[in-house]
Amino acid sequence: MIMRKTCLLFILFYCVIAKSFAQNDSLTDMLNKEMPAPVKKDYTTATFKATRIINGCSVENLGAGVLDFRISHRFGQLNEGASNFFGLDNATTRLGLDYGITKWLMVGIGHSTLNKEDDGFIKIKLLPQQKGKMPITLSYAGSASVQTEPAPILPPGDKYDFNNRVYYTNQVLIARKFNRWLSLQIMPTIVHFNLVDSSKFSNNTIAIGVGGRIKVSHRIAITGEYYYRTNNTGMLVNGLPTYNAVAVGIDIETGGHVFQLMLTNSQGLTDRTFIGQTTDSWAKGQLHFGFNISRVFTVVKPKGFKGYQDEKW
């Protein structure tokens, strides 16, 4: 009898102790049971560091109310030798301003020194990658550009139409962030040239682009991009043959800036120039060193942050 009593006492004691130890876990469990957490959509973020992989668009959009000032530079060919300071003397530049209207819609304008080209684009995120629901991000990017070089001298009576200067690009961007360090993207592309040199060529160059990034640290990623043209590969630009665009680069992120350094065979910075009219070849060593600098400014603060600095709590 005494044994039994002691036994029971022990069990009781043990129960109380166990209960007090388990209290906190059961508290959280109780909370989750009584007030279930709202089901949240888990969208994948930061598939790429910037809105461009290297030359072309990535599926990343700017946040709503964010303005991005972009300076892109492509130097001349590295193999031009010392007389041109390995290409540094002949550079093309594009200055651009991009703006995020909503988190799925962004627009941008830019001016590029090659062919004095003005361009504008729109990028729409149609489907965002979502954990357990949507394996890919699907976006559309469309751009139009106008080269503003002096009109060529034509025989008397011939007119050089404004339309001849205009180019359009339509792209579908399909990307997937596989894990923390690997993201890949495929981009079927149509570049429309209002004017081509000869009737041999189609006005539409159809290309398939592939791109990706491998993150090597929190702030550094290695990127690559390739556009394969399915037609118009014999197109000439100023008598020079054209090649598929290949670029490799490094993304370096520092606070509000992203620096992208790259080696590429295209000196052009607009979609039609690098996808359809790259005149240099990796095989011949005609490479260009270049960089993109992106600096973002938050123009419109998100809701709920107005006056938050004065909050006393």
Partner: protein, 184 residues
Amino acid sequence: MKKLFLITCFLTTGITALFAQKYMTRTGKVKFDATAPSSPERIVGVNNEAACILDSKSGDVASQMLIKSFKFEKELMEEHFNENYMESDKLPKADFKGKITNASEINFAKDGAYTAKVEGKLTIHGVTNDVTTPADVTVRGHTVSVKTKFVVKLIDYKIKVPSLVADKLSKEATVTLDCDLTQK
């Protein structure tokens, strides 16, 4: 004798259940400020979806929140916070499990303002540390509001501040919590 024990057992459990009052919320506000003194921009994150629960009998408290629910003034800050500092895809939650050590001094049945001493374990970025902080507890009917403020050292939670951003991002963050818990 056996019967008596069993009855006592049941009674104890029953009484505990009767007096155990739980207060909880899913919309607790948690803010942190990790702005360095020299920084031109404020580095502040706000989470309005913190879950908190309080057991008025035992004084046990627990809180849990998703790292991804922290919002920032600048979108890029939010991205860096999740990607580079908190690694929220790997470590999605922060939580606190602790106790009000002077729970007996707080009368949850009577309206009034009290100062609670809270002790417990805070887990951020997969690292757990002990935290002790005073908290303002205000009882108003069936609502208990809890306010507290404490400082965490980022290095204690294995959050590294690269020298590049040391002029903006402080090595310490001031964490404020403000929740209104309702009785269940």
